[in-house]
Amino acid sequence: MLQKVFDGEIEYLQVLDENGKVDAALFPNDLDDNKIIEMYKYMCLARAFDAKMLSLQRQGRVITYAPLIGEEATQIGAALAMRKDDYLVPNFRQHGVFIARGFPIENFFIAGRGYEDGLKAPPGTNSLAVAVPVGSQMPHSVGLAYALKYKKKDAAVVAFVGDGGTSEGDFYEATNFSGELKVPLVMIIENNQWAISVPRSKQSIAKTLAQKAFAAGIRGLQVDGNDVIAVYKAVSEGIKSLATDGPILIECITYRMSIHTTADDPTKYRDQKDVDAWKPKDPILRVKTYLSAKGLWNDELEKQMTEEQAKKINDSVAEAEAFKGDPKSMFDNLYSFVPDILKDEENEAVDANFWQ
């Protein structure tokens, strides 16, 4: 006997194309004009924030930074699809999601100055901390989602991983655990085509990264990650269907238009023609075209928004620069108590005034 025992296919979703035209049949019915304007503004804010961080980094005022330019639709679409009580599990490039969910911008500048205090999420912002070891955040998202389910909260977890991260063991373990434990979890692959210098084609010969869901027995979907409406639709419908259909893996196809981090030089390994080919697919441009065609956006509104956002960002920088750190906080926050041997090290440092 020889019979087919598994059948799977991956669909690709796009609602708003690169010319600003929508597929009416797929347009999410809970999305109104105001929400799309909000999406547009947050995408612009994320890009303006990025520009500020890069500028401050070049001036030596913030540490290494991983910009998100080009990936705004994936981040903002997901952020606005999340409900207030849902949790964000980021890797290290999700500033856009944080900002759109109300995380204080000044915190990023505080962290950028080198203080962990910036990573402390104010109550209610429902997010884990930036995770630097690639893919290692994915098992956390499973456990966090388990905790929400265990505590019978009407909330889900939305976790982010990059295309490179999908090669990590933790990614496979997490997707597998998520299905087995049936947790309320949406996993988003922010596939920006590059893991520093290694292109997507060298991460895996799999045709899609979304199909990795099949190995775990969970749902997989591919989305135009430069289409904020498609991402919004995929993530919001994903969240709504978690209780009935289990976790979902959503691969958002986008492009890292800039550097991996400020420590990277892509001219060493990437052809500028590849980058140029993605410019017409810009996630912000197509929303602007769409809104302008509907008479919902114009130069005057753009100018007003840009000024407001610049002020918001500059105020945040000023607030962050006023922040004063205290090295004692290193000793006070390692455990729920300060052990004697650590207290001795602290006393020695204070007495000798090593940190002045």
Binding site: E116, A121, L128, V142, A147, L181, L334, L342
Partner: protein
């Protein structure tokens, strides 16, 4: 009630689960099987599969998932079947469990007790017999405990489950069923970070923990030497004061552990004694430990790890210096 270490730990987990519904167990075979050493035996029947979770076989996934549970307000107790398999979860422990509270300035913490059997002497395979305590103690952020008897095992477990910190709970396999002790049935705590002077003495101080404690105790009894024996119980954070006070009194220090000699817990203790009590010693500090080799197959394990003869010879040497 008379309990061995397995039943004392089972009793501790049972009480902790009764008093706090955020306590959940997870790991390979912890459910129906009760764990390969039966420490979680019967708990799935009592608390259900939402609280006693048989996970897929993946150690990083187990520890990483437990970290996520802890960040979500639970108090997970992941079991890693043998210490030799825990290296797969090491990145999660060092990169996340050890630093989450610090990185978020106490905004988020990882209350969690990672249980794993350690140590050899039971003729098991070599990856089932390791003593990796120093790997988890180095660098800070993880509390590392290792009991030497059923009473301490239960009390340390209860205390670990009342702390809001990540605790690595090392259970010496050889001591699981070696002897029984009178253990109270109700909840009680044994302090974490406090060593226990299990025998007072004047002539030398022997600092030890885990599997070596009953061996050291027997040798000292048989030799009729007036030794002070300190059972560390907690490896990190180290109870430096108890060690220094004793060494200053006796003037002689010896450290006995089952883990390998070099770069080990003994080296750390010897360094601290040298820095803070050198002039009160009248002999060099002696370490008795396993060989600087990966754990061998069982045929040579008695040669590999310290035994009564080796401990006895070291005592004789120290007392005649």
């Amino acid at each position: 009630m008379q309990m061995n270490m397995v039943s004392a730990l089972n009793n501790a987990l049972d009480l902790a689960m009764q008093e706090n519904e955020d306590v959940v167990l997870l790991g390979e075979d912890v459910g129906e099987d009760g764990g390969v050493f039966r420490v979680t035996d019967g708990l799935i029947k009592k608390y259900g599969e939402n609280r006693v979770i048989d996970t897929p076989l993946a150690e990083s996934g187990i520890i990483g998932t437990a970290i996520g549970m802890a960040l979500g307000g639970l108090h997970p107790v992941p079991e890693i079947q043998f210490a030799g398999f825990m290296y797969l979860g090491y990145s999660q422990l060092i990169n996340h469990a050890a630093r989450y509270r610090e990185r978020t300035r106490s905004g988020l913490s990882v209350p969690m007790v990672v249980r794993t059997p350690v140590g050899g002497g039971i003729r098991a395979l070599e990856h089932h017999s390791e003593s990796p305590e120093v790997l988890y103690s180095y660098g800070g952020g993880l509390i590392v405990v290792e009991p030497s008897n059923p009473y301490d095992a239960k009390g340390l477990m209860m205390k670990a489950l009342h702390l809001k910190d990540p605790v690595i709970f090392l259970e010496p396999t050889k001591l699981y069923r070696l002897f029984k002790q009178d253990v109270p049935e109700e909840s009680y705590e044994v302090d974490i970070g406090k060593a226990n002077i299990i025998r007072a003495g004047e002539d030398l101080t022997i600092i030890t923990y885990g599997t070596m404690v009953p061996i050291v105790n027997d040798v000292v009894s048989q030799k009729h030497v007036d030794a002070e024996i300190i059972d560390l119980r907690t490896i990190n954070p180290l109870d430096e004061k108890t060690i220094l006070d004793s060494v200053k009194k006796t003037g002689k220090a010896m450290i006995v552990h089952e883990a390998s000699l070099s770069f080990g817990v003994g080296a750390e203790i010897a360094a601290r004694i040298s820095e803070k009590a050198l002039y009160e010693l009248d002999a060099p500090i002696i370490r008795v430990a396993s060989l600087d080799l990966p754990y061998p197959f069982p045929a040579y394990e008695n040669y590999y790890m310290p035994n009564a003869k080796k401990v006895g010879a070291a005592i004789d040497r120290l007392l005649t210096m």
